[in-house]
Structure formats: C-alpha cells, structure tokens
C-alpha cells in the first residue's frame, strides 16, 4: 500500500541560517501586535468589559436586525451591537455596562425582555457586572503569567537553562502574535479566549519540547558537530513529526470551526492561528535562541575554536560568517571545518 507522506524524507534545511531573517521578521510582527493591542485594542467580550449579551431567536423565523438595533436608542441602553449569524432567525444583542452598578444591569435586561419578549425567544442571557469583569481580567492575566512561570520551572529542571529561556521566549512570541490576531480580526476576547491562549501556550511548549528533546539527545550523540549544525540536524529529524502533528490537530480544529457552533468558533480560529505560530516559533525562534544564549556543543565548538586563534582577523572582520560556513559543512564529525572559526565566538557576542 502506498502511504501518504506530507513531509519529504531526510531533509537538510539549514534552519539556523534563517534566524537572521526570522528574528527581525518576528520582532516586526511582535511590534505590530503590540501596536495593534495599544492602538486598535481588543474586542473584549462582556467577561472582561462587563455588559450584557442576549441571544435571540425570532418566533416568526426572521430576526429583524434593524428593529433590534433601534432598541439601543429606545431603551436608552447606550451603544448596542446587533449581530445576525447563521440562521436568519437568530441574532445577538450586546450592550455595555449601564451606569448605576449591578442593579442597573439587571434592569436593562428586564427592559429588553419586556420589549422583545413577545416576538423573540431569549435563548441565552449573560450579564457580567463591573466588579466581576475586573476580577476575571485579573485571574485571566494571572493564569497566563503563572502557567508560563510554571513551565519555565519545569523546563529548567528537565533541561539546561538555555532551553527553558528559549522555550519561554518562543512562547511569549506566540502569545504576542495571538493577541495581535485577536486585535486584527476583532474576534471577541473572553474567558474562552484565555483558554485558547493557554492551550496555545501548551501546544507551543509541546512543539518546543519535542525539538529541544532531540537537540539534547543529539548534543550527547554528536559531540563533534558545531552547535548550529547539530540543531539543524535535530530539527530536520523531527520535521516529519512536526508537520504530521500540526496537520492532524488542524484537521480537528477545522471540524470545530465548521461544525462546533458559534460559541467556540473564536476559540477554534485562535487555536488554528496558534498552531501555525507555535510550529514556526519552535523552529525559528526557540532553537536559534539556544545559540544566542551560548549553548555550546563542547567538542564540536572546541574543534572550531582551536582554529579560531589562527584566523582571528577574519573573525573580527565578520563575526557571523563563520556560522554560515559551518552550516554548509557536511554532518561528518571527522573533518572540522576550516572556516568555522567564529562559531564559538558568536554566542558570547549575543
């Protein structure tokens, strides 16, 4: 039986070389994400902004969005957002916190119910008061921060510290880009989105750990390879698995987006984006970070370093060229490259 292979076999992509592109690129994207967050902001759902959401179904089969929109004016609810979705009979009303504290929120719902209760079935009513929403913001933020710290701790315990830091930087990168995603798409950001973010954090770490695990293994096995070369080799080795897993999870998520219904759609969309970003960052952000943080494949780098003394001027002229030439080396341990001179130097610079 001929089996499907999505990932090519025995790849030898020089991933480490891309870090000079991927770092500025990611930095740029992260900056955009921050800028979006600051200037465009998030479409905070009522969990965090407070307010009311009412999901209506018209008893006569067609929701009159225009009429519903008019409610905001008529009932003095302030800005009211009306959205139709899927079924023409369904519509969602959303309005912000009413002045006058918790009691006023309930009174507002009551006014809506009196007005539309005869023509519409109120399928879902959610009211979050001002204090509760503040607490949800706090616990959400705390959750994200705590989980990153906890994972940092675990990775520190299981791997070298560079791995932990690399993984956390990659995770933060994913986090920022996910926030940017929520901002640019204006998908509603609520407690379920926090769940999505934490799951993305989990997935991103999962990806990172798989790559790091192989790097650690290869570090022991191929002591004489240069660091960058060894990392490239490791990433290439796990590449089929990375692609395979990302595709499978993506299939599950596509099913959620298509059939899971309105409530979890924003969760699923964010997850899809998160899978992309997490896969990218485990390869292009976390792994090169090891080099920047001074992780060294002792003997391989020493072999290179011994040569370094001899070609000192070439190194001062161009601090980075050595790395690239190292990547061009075949992964044989017997012939330390002549031009690998700057390799061990590089981490210290970074």
């Amino acid at each position: 039986m001929k089996l499907l292979r999505l990932a090519p076999e025995n790849t030898k992509f020089p991933f480490m070389r891309f870090r000079r592109v991927s770092y500025p690129f990611s930095a740029f994207l992260s900056l955009i994400a921050v800028a979006l967050f600051v200037f465009k902001g998030m479409n905070f759902g009522i969990d965090f902004a407070g307010g009311t959401v009412i999901e209506l179904r018209a008893k006569n089969g067609s929701a009159e969005v225009g009429v519903l929109r008019g409610l905001g004016e008529g009932l003095k609810l302030g800005d009211i957002e009306v959205q139709g979705f899927g079924n023409p009979a369904d519509a969602t009303l959303r309005f912000g916190l009413q002045p006058g504290g918790d009691v006023a929120q309930q009174a507002a719902v009551e006014r809506v119910r009196e007005k539309v209760g005869n023509d519409y079935e109120l399928r879902r009513v959610e009211v979050v008061g001002p204090r509760v929403s503040n607490e949800l913001v706090q616990s959400g933020t705390l959750g994200v921060v705590l989980s990153i710290l906890a994972v940092l701790g675990y990775l520190w315990f299981r791997f070298e510290w560079q791995f932990a830091v690399g993984a956390v930087i990659a995770t933060m990168h994913d986090l920022l880009l996910t926030v940017g995603f929520f901002s640019i798409t204006q998908l509603e950001f609520n407690t379920t989105s926090i769940a999505a973010i934490l799951t993305i954090v989990g997935y991103s770490l999962n990806e990172t750990v798989v790559v790091l695990d192989r790097i650690r293994e290869n570090m022991r096995k191929y002591k004489k390879l240069g660091t960058a070369q060894m990392i490239d080799m490791s990433i290439n080795a796990v590449l089929p698995r990375t692609i395979m897993t990302a595709t499978t999870v993506m299939l599950a998520l596509i099913a959620l987006v298509a059939f899971g219904g309105q409530v979890i759609r924003s969760f699923s969309l964010a997850m899809i984006w998160g899978i992309f970003v997490a896969t990218y960052s485990s390869i292009f952000i976390c792994s090169p970070m090891l080099i920047y943080l001074g992780l060294r494949n002792e003997e391989g780098d020493k072999a290179a370093a011994s040569h370094e003394v001899a070609s000192k001027d070439s190194q001062t002229r161009d601090g980075q060229s050595g790395l690239e030439s190292a990547e061009k080396e075949p992964p044989t341990t017997s012939a330390p490259a002549k031009k690998k001179s700057a390799q061990s130097r590089k981490p210290r610079q970074a």
Binding site: V125, G129, S147, T192, A195, N206, E207, V249
Partner: protein, 530 residues
C-alpha cells in the same frame, strides 16, 4: 518489545472494558437508561455524564451581599441600642445621637455619666461577633476629652456580619429554589460575600431571578393618622404606584412569625389571586392584639419597604390567619408565597453575574459539539490510516480507547461536560495522535538508519518516551492552571484537556506498543510497513 507481559495485556484490556462499561449508560437514550436503572438495584444506579449549564440549559447566577445595606442595618441597630442604653441608664445627652459615615456619635457632657455608660457601650460589640474576643474588634468605641463618644462599625465587624448574612442567605435561597421544584440546584458560597446559584434545566429562568432578587421582608405596620408625631412614621411607596402612604415606624408583626403562606383566590373579589398566610402562636397573639386595639384604622402590609396593600381593620382578627391581596397576577401570588414560606433574606443581594442558557440553545450546542467531534475524529482517523497504514489502524484503535477513557474519567470524577469541554476533547483527539506520530516517526528514522525492524520498533518506543512525557507534562501544567483559575465552562475545558493528556500516555504509548508487539508476533514482517 516482543515480550509484552501478560498482566500488562490483561490490565489494558480490563481498563478498556471498564471504561466502555462506565461510559455506556451516558450514551444510551433516556428511555433505555431508565429501563436499565429499573433492572439494577438502587446502589448500582449507573452514573451518567453531567452536562454543564451551557449544554443542558439553565441558570448560573452570582449574588453578592450588599455591604452598604448591611452597614445601614448595623448603624440603625446601633442607634437603637445606644438609645436603649441611654434610656436605661437615664443619661442625658446634648444634641441627640449624630450620624457618622459608619456609626453614630453622641455628646455626654457629664463625666460621671460617661464613665457609667461607656462599659455598656463597649459591650455592644458582643452583638456583632459570634466569636467574642477573637480577632479585630468589630466595633470601635472612641472617646474624646470634650465628651464626644463615637461608635464605629469596623471593617472586621462588617466582614463578620457579611459572612453571617451569606450563611443565612444560603439557607433561605435553598428553600426558595427548592420551592421551584427544579432538580439538583447547586448553591455555594464564594469568597466572603458571594453566593453562586446554579440551577440546571429551568424552563423559566426569569422566575429564578425574581425570587432571588427580593429580600422579602414582610412587615405589618399601621398607617399613620393625622395628628401623630411625624418623627414616628415614614412615607413609603405603594406597590401599585399610586403614590406614598405615611406608615408608622413601629413594626407590629413580622414575616418571621409566619408559619405558612399559600397562593389562593379570593372568591369575594371575583377570584382575584391572593396569598393566604398563617401565623405562629406569637404572631397570632400579636396580630389579634393589634387588630383589636385598632379597629377602623388602616393596617399596611409592607414588603421590602413597599406597601402592598393597606386594608381597613373591620373586626379584630384573632384566628391567626389572614390574606394578602394586592392586585396580583397568579404568578406574582405564587412567587410571593414562595418567598414568604422561605423567609426573608438577612440583607439585600445583588446579582453581579448571570449566565442563562435556554434549553433549546443547549440542545443545539450538544448537537453542534457532537457533529464537530464526529467530523474531527473522522478526519483524523482517515488521515492516520492513509499515512501509517496498519500502524494507523493501531493508532486509531488507541484513539478510540483514549476517548472512552476521557469520558469514563468525566463520569467517574462527576465533573461536568461543557461546550468548551467538547472542544477540549476534539483538541485532544488531535493531540493524542501526536504521541503515536512521535513514536512512528522515530521508528522510521531508526529503520532508515539501518536497524532491523525489531530494533527500530524497540528504539522508537524507548526514545520517544522521554519526549512524550516532557511534552505532555508541559501541556498538563497549562491545563492545571486553567482549572484552578478558570470558572464554569472553561474549567470543563481544563478537565477534558487534563484527562486527555493523562490517558494519552496509556493509550498512545502502552496500548499501541501492545498492539504492535502482537502484530509483530503474528505477521513476522520483513519490512517496516510505514
């Protein structure tokens, strides 16, 4: 690799069967389940999966004790107490009892008088705290040299009162919600000043809010007549909106003296809905006394400081029962009788969060979740099959058991399945095969590196194990934190995710290993089929 111990095999098969057995009742149609339940003895009633409010419909309401209301009541009581002490000790004060933001103050000019009443005033703190002496003082008594005494309710005192109010409120709310006749309501305290009420499967969520939102303090008070001291009465709003009535401040009979209240109809008024009530002995006596002495006066029935009605006392009522009429609808009369039976709340409760899902939407969400799960699982199964062939079959079998384990875990833990929970399960379907993928890819790699099939299989499983553990632990940490910080549906997601991660190790690793070992034993392959 080949020598897969028999006990391990038995353990895995037994666990799988047990999981299927645990899950089976939840998968049955309600009719089949009921039939099964009847055949089994009562102690063997099979548990089924608990659906979250977002799936079965229902209301989640978070109530918060109104601290301002508690403070007002406290200050009011304090003022009464101080007045009583002054009267008992016959102490004269200058300028009356003044108000402060959180208490009262009074000026006692005579030093000897001050010495006499101060210990008595200090004793008032005992009325605040159940745990006398412990912790911060609930009541501050300050004295200035010029004879001013200031009594202030402290934060500690307010917190203590709030807690007690929450405890009492929970009891009252339980009685009220039980009266609605719903199944399995959950009423829990949350923190110092909040109560979470969760009632599944409500057809009319509005009624729940109506009966939760009222203090239901019922008082019988006389309507003030012309010529009475205005300080002894207050103007209260009438329920029907026809303006205010002057009502005496003195409460003649209180709602707590009621033993029963039932909705009914008054035949004399053309079948108008009313509430019939019955007093206990003390209430009946008091009611008899008051009505005897005040024939021809208006007797107001006051609920939460609103006058429901103020009928004229025609004859003394000594039977201990009566009727409240206030142009009610049938529903209002019903609600009021529930409230009166359950008793008044000790303080005002505000709704600070409400999440209500109607039964129709719940069913739609279940359907959507099911559809997504079937399609997601189907896609993954096919994908594994076309990528890994016979090994894909093993992975899919493991995946099936994995899902059975998750559901069995949910049933056994009694944790609720929410819509985000379903999303979590669909997600773990994707994640679970990750372990299989890790192993299979490793096996291929080892095989390509020139190892024999058996050695590749062995190395593949061995090497992939550390990676599987590491990656799952990190994911589990995220799920655990989500569980502890999340609320409601998000918690459901965390539980599904965490269960999924735990069961992955058993199914995707051990089970697959077993299946491949057996396969190898019988198939004796000459080349790796992946």
């Amino acid at each position: 690799m080949l020598r897969f111990s028999t006990w391990k095999f038995i353990a895995i098969v037994a666990m799988t069967l047990a999981a299927i057995l645990v899950v089976a009742p939840s998968m049955m149609t309600p009719a089949h389940y009921e039939a099964l339940k009847e055949r089994l003895p009562a102690w063997l009633t099979p548990p089924t999966i608990v659906l979250g409010l977002d799936l079965q419909g229902g209301s989640h309401v978070m109530l918060e004790v109104d601290k301002a209301d508690i403070l007002t009541t406290q200050v009011k009581n304090l003022r009464e107490d101080v007045r009583r002490i002054l009267r008992e000790e016959k102490v004269a004060i200058t300028g009356g009892i003044g108000a402060t933001p959180r208490g009262v103050q009074l000026r006692v000019a005579d030093a000897a008088d001050r010495e006499r009443i101060l210990p008595k005033l200090r004793l008032l703190r005992n009325g605040f705290s159940a745990r006398a002496g412990g912790g911060d003082s609930p009541l501050d008594v300050e004295e200035t040299p010029d004879g001013l005494i200031r009594l202030t309710v402290t934060d500690a005192g307010l917190v203590e009162k709030t807690r007690r109010a929450v405890d009492q409120s929970i009891e009252v709310i339980r009685r009220r919600v039980d009266a609605l006749g719903t199944r399995e309501p959950s009423i829990q305290r949350e923190g110092d000043d909040r109560i979470i009420v969760q009632v599944p499967g409500l057809q009319d969520p509005e009624q729940l809010k109506t009966i939760l939102g009222q203090t239901a303090k019922l008082e019988f008070r006389l309507v003030a007549e012309a010529g009475q001291n205005p300080a002894d009465s207050e103007e209260l709003e009438q329920q029907d909106g026809t303006g205010k009535l002057p009502i005496e401040k003195q409460v003649m009979v209180q709602g707590e003296d009621l033993t029963d209240a039932q909705p009914g109809f008054d035949q004399q008024r053309g079948g108008e809905p009313v509430v019939n009530f019955r007093f206990n002995i003390r209430g009946a006596q008091r009611f008899g006394e008051v009505t005897s002495k005040n024939v021809d006066r208006l007797f107001a029935i006051v609920l939460d400081n609103k006058v429901i009605s103020a009928p004229r006392i025609l004859t003394p009522i000594t039977g201990g029962s009566g009727q409240i009429s206030g142009r009610f609808t049938v529903e209002e009369a019903n609600n009021l009788s529930i409230l009166l039976r359950a008793g008044a709340l000790p303080a005002k409760l505000n709704i600070v969060e409400e999440r209500t899902v109607g039964p129709g939407l719940g069913q739609d969400s279940i359907d959507a979740g099911k559809r997504a799960a079937y399609v997601g699982a189907g896609l993954v199964v096919v994908y594994m099959l076309i990528t890994y062939g016979v090994f894909g079959v093993f992975a899919n079998l493991a995946l099936f058991v994995h899902i059975a384990f998750i559901f069995a875990g949910l049933v056994l833990l009694g944790s609720t399945l929410t819509l985000p929970g379903i999303a979590g399960i669909v997600l773990t379907i994707g994640m679970a095969v990750d372990s299989n993928v890790l192993i299979y890819e490793r096996i291929r790699e080892e095989n390509h590196a020139g190892r024999t099939i058996l050695a590749s299989l062995d190395a593949g499983f061995k090497r992939a194990f550390a990676t599987i553990v590491d990656s799952n632990v990190t994911m589990f940490v995220a799920a655990a934190i989500l569980y502890f910080l999340g609320t409601g549906p998000v918690r459901g997601f965390a539980v599904s995710l965490a269960l999924g991660i735990l069961t992955t190790i058993i199914t995707a690793y051990t089970m697959t290993q077993m299946m491949i070992a057996i396969w190898y034993h019988y198939a004796r392959p000459t080349r790796l089929p992946i």
